[in-house]
Subunit: 206 residues, 2 copies
């Protein structure tokens, strides 16, 4: 038997539809947008969630400081304009990932409601799942894996969210998922998000 | 039987490896970088290739002017600096898609060798498949779906690649795939790329 050749396949010349992708990937695309203070657990939860989704056969990907700040956004600093552009580009890339059919998980402080709102509007409100990683600042400061809170409290780090007067954190008013990350474990946080994804019909039966 | 809970799953706290993703997705990630004059067939080939890959169960996605110029790169114009930044961001996004395990197909004129070389270096040389959509300029000008060649020849469009003296097209010197898009059909172009992907072991048996 000869191998099927592309020339024998009928196609329409246009982008693949959202439905065709969802069928292939057995999932609806969405953006799980984690927001919270530094050391509130965003990246740890994001990576653990990605791992579980991949293990279950889903296509998922984490956008975080590691792969964005040093790549796409390496020409941005921490001025207000650059912070806004940072979140804008992340929102646009998350939109492209959703368009490609993936579950994209973002893990950025994203302190401003307006910026998160813009990302939601960009991606499509129904596909945007805002997850508040909510730990008291004293808990975050006591974890302080990079020693940043201590430096910020001594004034050695400028514009540090939640510490410096010019860098407030605006908590979500109505997030899809609210995780008390100072009280519950990472596996419990991941379970809560997975339960939500199943409830919402985002993960299809296999 | 109760549903498996995330709390019962062992995970390591780190990014999912390239190997784990390749296994799930039954493909090695790569970037198929189409380059060529306006109207040389890049977008048509990209969309047809994406369609065939999706139909065969692969995760693939086209980055082109439609979804990039109006989104991520909407704050860029056509100055030399902005053109370079346009291609840089596309390269960075293609890298993120490869990192997520996808086959990403880019369809941009990308006229400068240096910019394409930078994208190759960024993505990882082995994952970068340069595809030259090579049609003579008179063929491209005769297709001219947007009437741009005519306007450029009348000087009404500035810096038009291949027409304006300040906007040369630098053909690839050693592309992985060279398609004579003025002579062969779109299905033949798609077949040639698919054959290459199979030869290179990028598409795994299912």
């Amino acid at each position: 038997m000869t191998e099927q050749k592309a020339t024998n396949i009928a196609w329409h010349l246009g982008h693949v539809t959202r439905e065709e992708r969802a069928l292939l990937m057995r999932q609806n695309p969405c953006c799980i947008w984690l927001t919270g203070l530094s050391a509130s657990g965003k990246s740890t939860i994001a990576m653990a969630l990605e791992q579980v989704l991949i293990q279950r056969g889903h296509a998922a990907y984490v956008l975080d400081g590691d792969n964005v700040r040093h790549g796409l956004n390496k020409n941005l600093g921490f001025s207000p304009d650059d912070r806004a552009e940072n979140i804008r580009r992340i929102g646009e890339v998350a939109r492209l990932f959703c368009d490609a059919g993936l579950i994209v998980i973002t893990a950025f402080i994203s302190p401003y409601r307006e910026d998160r709102q813009k990302a939601r509007a960009l991606i499509a409100p129904d596909d945007f799942i805002e997850v508040f990683a909510d730990a008291p600042i004293n808990v975050c400061a006591s974890r302080d894996p990079k020693g940043l809170y201590e430096k910020a409290m001594r004034g050695e780090v400028k514009s540090f969210t939640g510490v410096s007067p010019d860098a407030p954190y605006e908590p979500p008013l109505n997030p899809e998922i609210h995780l008390l990350t100072g009280q519950i474990s990472v596996p419990e946080c991941v379970s809560a998000i997975l339960d939500y994804l199943v409830q919402q019909g985002i993960l299809h039966a296999r």
